[in-house]
């Protein structure tokens, strides 16, 4: 029977997942629910395994580790980040590496919708005022019939665009490489910014997208427009965004990501009335975690069957 090691399920998540049973049915599993801590322990746990499910990014799977595990042929990372694994070394040593992309897409798209609705209806602010004995009227925004501009049409952007259409918004999109087959109207970035009541960012952070929504682009946005960012903080010029929120040109913002995370103490966003904030948690739901664990196990089974999927290396 094939041997699979799980050297780092701490705190335990894989062992609690139904997909763990599928793994145990297909292989002999060397399972550990503590962190290995040092290289010797990690190597000890992985030594006779052909495939490893890497649960925690604190386990550094370096060239040295790989060289000390002679039968290792596959590393299945739970998550999308691969920086704890030396990919060049894996390539040189003929070890395949897989990850679990896009499993959070539904959760992130839903979270973006939750932020959009909460900003439009000023939910945290209204809740606080009612608890304080007030009975505020009006002043909220209806989204039905308004225009939603979606920037970036990857898995998350296109799901959010569909949710926006679902609640009755007119959706326009801009993406670096237009995908007309998706059926969303593609417009210039200038047209998107000047015509949208809500602008939502779904770009990957790269050198091309850093500072993408800068002061001049923010200035193009409709007065009182709402900005949503569940992608990455540095895609927006945070200072320009805050200035625009203060002046009232931007009507509100729903933000899950920031320039510096956790959000530093005394950060001005923390005191703003027209924003709804969340702690880079859009992708964290039990469903997304389970989908990731299940895919990490599927990737092991696919590797054993000779059809590697979700390969990074």
């Amino acid at each position: 029977m094939k041997i699979v090691a799980v050297p780092d399920d701490a705190p335990a998540v894989l062992a609690l997942s139904p997909s763990f049973d599928r793994l145990k049915a297909a292989a002999e599993v060397r399972y550990f629910d503590t962190l290995p801590g040092v290289e010797d322990v990690l190597v000890d746990r992985m030594r006779d395994a052909e495939s490893v499910v890497n649960v925690r990014s604190s386990s550094k799977i370096t060239r040295a580790v790989m060289e000390r595990c002679p039968v290792l042929r596959h590393i299945s990372i739970w998550g999308t980040g691969t920086d704890n694994v030396d990919l060049d070394a894996a390539r040189a040593l003929g070890i395949r590496v897989t990850n679990t992309p896009a499993v959070s897409a539904t959760s992130i798209a839903e979270h973006t919708l939750a932020l959009m609705l909460a900003v439009a209806r000023r939910v945290p602010q209204i809740d606080a005022r009612v608890r304080a004995g007030e009975w505020p009227r009006g002043g909220t925004v209806q989204l039905h019939g308004k225009t939603l501009g979606v920037i970036g049409l990857g898995e998350i952007g296109r799901r959010f665009a569909r949710l926006g259409q679902g609640i009755g918004m007119r959706v326009v999109t801009w993406t670096m490489n237009p995908k007309p087959e998706l059926g969303f109207p593609h417009v210039s970035i200038e047209e998107l910014l000047t015509s949208s009541d809500v602008v939502s960012l779904h770009l990957r952070l790269s050198e091309q997208t850093r500072g993408f929504l800068d002061a001049s682009r923010i200035a193009l946005m409709k007065p009182r427009a709402i900005l949503l960012n569940t992608a990455r903080g540095p895609i927006v010029d945070e200072r320009a965004m805050m200035a625009s929120l203060r002046s009232g040109q931007l009507g509100g913002a729903g933000l899950d990501v920031f320039d510096v995370e956790p959000l530093p103490e005394d950060h001005p966003l923390k005191g703003m009335e027209n924003v709804v904030l969340s702690p880079h948690a859009a992708g964290i739901t039990p469903e997304a975690l389970e989908a990731g664990l299940s895919l990490a196990v599927d990737n092991v089974l696919a590797y054993f069957s000779g059809n590697v999927r979700n390969a990074v290396v």
């Binding site: 439009a120 608890r131 909220t140 709804v276 702690p279």
Partner: protein, 345 residues
């Protein structure tokens, strides 16, 4: 002077909805020949007196109360046009007897109320208020007491499947829900089949839904309809959302269900008494989102409510039967017919 068609505007509009009132007067009433409108006084309970009502052909009602006593000796009045769809503060049989039509604005409210329901469903599912609070207080995601959940595949349930309930399910079609169930004794399976809604009994709605929403009007039959035993049936991870009317739900039972975590949380836009007392026990709980019976109250909604109500009043001013009549039997009432006849001249 007596030939003018006179519209009385309940005084709460001037404090609660001054801008939309202005919008509607300018947009719909100004320039129409033979119309006059002014403010009417109501008492501390927003009850309109007969002394006021007798001078008007039509009334714009907001939270206005109209009783049998309000109509004593009132001969001229032909229509009460409510901005909104609830009419629990209006004595409908008394209006009918007096030959007065009551109109509501179902077209204007269904979409904004649906949007308010989804605002609460999504904010509750993602635990958004707590996330916002933790982030502002300097915490991060490791400090969240629980994760948000995903909507995809979950069951959306409704007590009531009329105008607003059906619109809610229509909007929900592409939001990823897995199943739609509803209880409504006045709707047939055939009428809601195209929405993918299964009609079930009320207990099933509570037992099987991940989100129980209330979309029924308040009347003698629905007052206190939702009780402790219904919350007992709900799944521990499920949510309760009421954007309809407070008295439909036994408030103490709701508080107990939330306090003792029988359910995961609730979104509450309506209360037994409004505004609620400052010490309402809901305000001390962190698994509830509260709103001031105004979550659907967008500028667009109020303008649309007013436009729809104004259309009804304008129809009557021309001696025509208006849209949105609640008391359909008034349409054959001799007194009402005589009023329309007079107005046609």
């Amino acid at each position: 002077m007596s030939d003018l068609f006179r519209i009385g505007i309940s005084d709460d509009f001037y404090t609660e909805a001054a801008e939309p009132l202005e919008f509607v007067c300018q947009k719909k009433l100004a320039g129409v020949p033979g119309l006059a409108w002014d403010r009417i006084q109501t008492d501390n309970d927003k009850c309109a007196g007969a002394g006021e009502l007798k001078n008007y052909d039509a009334i714009f009602a907001l939270a206005t109360k109209i009783t049998a006593g309000s109509l004593r000796g009132v001969e001229r009045l032909a229509v009460v046009a409510r901005w909104g769809v609830g009419y629990d503060r209006i004595d409908v049989p008394a209006l009918t007897e007096a030959g007065v039509a009551l109109t509501i604005t179902p077209g204007a409210v269904r979409r904004p109320v649906s949007e308010a329901i989804f605002t609460l469903i999504f904010a509750l599912s993602k635990n958004l208020l707590l996330q916002d609070k933790v982030t502002r207080a300097g915490g991060w995601r490791g400090d969240l007491p629980k994760m948000g959940i995903s909507i995809a595949g979950r069951t959306l349930g409704s007590v009531g499947c009329g105008n607003i309930g059906q619109e809610m399910f229509r909007v929900a079609q592409s939001l990823g829900f897995g199943r739609f169930i509803a209880y409504d004794p006045f709707v047939t399976q055939e009428q809601v089949k195209h929405l993918g809604v299964e009609l079930v009994d009320m207990d099933t709605v509570f037992r099987e839904s991940d989100f129980v929403t209330v979309n029924t009007l308040l009347n003698q039959n629905t007052c206190g309809l939702i009780q402790q035993r219904h919350f007992r049936l709900m799944k521990p991870a499920s949510y309760f959302i009421n954007t309809a009317r407070g008295p439909i739900v036994e408030h103490a039972a709701l508080v107990q269900a939330l306090r003792e975590h029988w359910i995961a949380g609730a979104g509450i836009d309506v209360f037994p008494i409004e505004p609620p007392p400052k010490d309402d026990p809901l305000f001390a709980l962190d698994n509830v989102i509260v709103a001031p019976h105004a979550l659907a109250w967008t500028t667009e909604l109020m303008n649309d409510n007013g436009s729809e109500a104004a259309n009804a009043v304008l129809s009557v001013s021309r001696g025509e039967v208006p849209n949105g009549v609640v008391n359909r039997d008034v349409l054959t009432h001799p007194k009402f017919l005589a009023k329309l006849e007079r107005l046609r001249k």
